[in-house]
Symmetry: C2
């Protein structure tokens, strides 16, 4: 079968990758280590182990092992939702009249509706294996909370989710699905933690932020017996788990002889994009390919395009280790007008390093442009995308139209990380014309930068 | 690869069936023809053609052609969401401790979230091919309206959807997704039609019913230029389109040497179950197999288990041809406490005939039992099912537990027709304990029967 005939490429079950791909092993210049916020010395495995599961700490700190084996019981779980389809966007290509070939890897075909389940399952699996009874986490738009609630229901672990307050109000059905899977959901900031009470005392009407929810989940994990904190992006072990996305792409594309010229993904904390590019970036670094890698972020939360490459805290409560990353400052809170997710102030340190060293490009998009692209895509390709994922659609369409102008037959691959089924309030505001665009001014950004330690 | 190793069975793209399966060709005793309500004579193709597209009329009336070719452009569309996975419910089997093998065919992996897209795409395709500019339809829980909105966006046809008023209130996000795909949505009963005005005059506070929305959509289609009416269940051409579900199951099961002993589907209008069993029922009728076929319906809308096998109207406005079917009477409106879909007063005439002649069994389920089964399934299999589909889960679990009691290693196949992503209000009411069960009394049913002509 030739590639030109195939629209949906599925791997068979025994082709599902048995290894995650640790792209740090391919980097000549490694990301800088996390630092202890007190001593400013590289953090130790023991220190991280107070917060994270042991196996995750190992994965977090391992910059050298290229292929990390996926445990068999976890592979069994993956088989309930994977392999995910790699789809040729034939209808979109035709509508755009582009000579480019456009492919997307769709991670939304599971009840949580996004790629987040790949890491949620891994983290719940390791927690169970280490005998833990409880997990805490935060969630913003709700994709991660839903995925982890599903994973914890499966592995039978108790879960408490701190959900950014404004999201829990805007997305009652996200809240409902998290609770349906048995998790305890607390809108953040809350009165259940010291940091929550402090933030509420300073700003009683705040809608919360991801950085603040992280602080609460961390504090709760430290105070609860047999409990650890898990999170759904930013960290390198999360990117490692998400590399199953890129691994599946690589296997399928190799089978059909497809070489991507451009790989595009949306970037909030970086796990979706990092997972997608993991097995491809090494060939770029070593000079074997000239593939372009493009991170797309919202103009309203532009860490990679307008942030600083500096050591910063991962949370608003300033309790995490210091991470060398592109950051808008741990005190940065994106405008509440922004409906497209990807609201985190920082970025995965490996992606940050790759961006800094010129291997990854970054672009930002206005949200009305993103929703316009989402609608164009959905009407012709039949998938209503998550606003997050639609950032990648926007850039893919832009690249395809560039190819049309220049009559170039490039191969574009983008990550369609999730569905928009739980984002319909945002679509409604786009449909009725009330959605606005927001781009922070330089002086808005300066306020955030001032919180970088 | 042996069956025991495979959990998710995908067909490759070139294995997608190129034919629908018309199960009426396998029936020795055919369903009785539709009658003109005035003359009580069998309806003619010409009469039906005033309401339906020409090709659909042909399919509706053809009881003899076994394999009906799927047009190539439609196959191209199907490839954007199909083949759908056939999944071995290994985790559920283990949790139940049953020796039975449980398989489900999952039709929820598309943005509309259900099997309805199979017929929606076919109907929009034919309408486009016949040069029509407009379509009207009704929708209850919203699965059909969403699917048709997607199909009409793709084939670029205008669509007006009459949505049962109580559903449009309970499911604002269903409404939003239908509108996002560009359809015009009108809560029914409405002031836009004569029949709507009449029903509102009699009962201003009614939440509407599917039968009433059918009447409005029909009237609107007759009064609009270049317009036809389409519907998402009950009719035999819809069941024909849904036979792609059963066709894919048969191909995959044959490949792995799996013979189903029991095939289970939920039944509202009958398209999901009819499509699932289409290529299997002939062998039962001819005595080659002893497969059991089970239709599961809600106790609150029990057409197959407590209805009458009689000629009745398909709509509350009493404007359709008369259909020989199991019916609760065209005036029957299920309790508004019922949240599980499958609210139609009648049943597809072919399924009705098969039930009447003893080839298909029927069972009814209380909704709290259905939601209990849905939660048990979702936590272990990782798919939040539509309440409709959960009727089949309930029966499959029941059959699997019977196998456990009797230590029988049966093969159970059920149709998982859709996801519950848009049904979270119902899950919330189950979670907080406010969901109630409702079973109509005999005298409740008598009122409905009195409306059978």
């Amino acid at each position: 079968m030739t590639v030109n005939k195939v629209t949906r490429m599925y791997l068979s079950e025994d082709e599902i990758p048995k290894y995650w791909y640790n792209m740090r092993a391919d980097m000549k210049q490694k990301p800088e280590p996390m630092l202890h916020p007190g001593t400013r010395q590289p953090i130790t495995a023991e220190e991280l182990g107070a917060v994270f599961c042991g196996e995750l700490v190992k994965q977090e700190m391992d910059m050298d092992t290229r292929l990390v084996e996926i445990p068999e019981a976890l592979l069994d779980f993956y088989k309930s939702t994977r392999p995910s389809p790699l789809i040729r966007a034939r209808f979109l290509e035709k509508e755009l009249g582009t000579p480019a070939e456009i492919y997307y890897k769709f991670e939304g075909n599971n009840t949580s509706g996004s790629h987040k389940l790949n890491s949620a399952a891994a983290q719940a699996y390791y927690a169970k294996g280490e005998g833990l009874k409880n997990l805490t986490t935060e969630t913003g738009a709700g994709q991660w909370g839903t995925a982890l609630a599903m994973a914890c229901a499966f592995f039978k672990i108790n879960l408490t989710v701190y959900m950014v307050k404004v999201s829990s109000r805007q997305k009652p059905y996200r809240k409902a699905v998290i609770e349906t899977f048995g998790a305890n959901l607390i809108p953040s900031p809350s009165e259940t933690t010291e940091v929550g009470r402090r933030i509420l005392a300073e700003n009683p009407d705040t809608g919360g932020s991801l950085g603040c929810a992280v602080s609460e989940a961390l504090e709760a994990a430290m105070k609860t017996p047999s409990c650890r904190y898990v999170l759904g992006s930013v960290m390198d072990h999360v990117v490692l788990h998400q590399s199953i996305i890129g691994q599946e792409c690589k296997i399928a594309m190799d089978r059909y002889g497809i070489k991507p010229d451009v790989i595009i993904g949306c970037a909030g904390g970086g796990s979706n994009l990092g997972g997608l590019i993991a097995p491809f970036i090494g060939e770029k670094i070593s000079g074997k390919t000239d593939t372009r890698f493009i991170a797309v972020e919202p103009a309203s939360c532009p860490s990679l395009t307008r942030g600083r490459f500096a050591y910063d805290f991962g949370d608003t409560g300033r309790t995490t280790p210091l991470i060398k990353m592109y950051t808008l400052g741990n005190g940065f809170i994106p405008s509440s007008e922004h409906a497209g997710g990807l609201r985190y102030h920082g970025m995965n340190p490996t992606l940050s390093k790759l961006r800094h060293d010129g291997y990854v490009e970054a672009r930002s998009a206005k949200q009305t442009d993103v929703f316009r692209a989402a609608l164009q895509f959905s009407k012709i390709e039949g998938i209503l995308p998550a606003p997050e994922s639609s950032h990648a659609i926007w850039a893919a369409i832009d690249e395809a139209l560039e190819c049309k102008k220049k009559n170039e037959k490039k191969v574009i691959l983008f990550g369609l990380s999730g569905t928009g089924s739980f984002d319909l309030a945002a679509y409604m505001s786009y449909n009725d014309g009330t959605m606005t665009d927001y781009t922070p001014t330089d002086s808005d950004l300066e306020k955030g930068f001032a919180t970088i330690p």
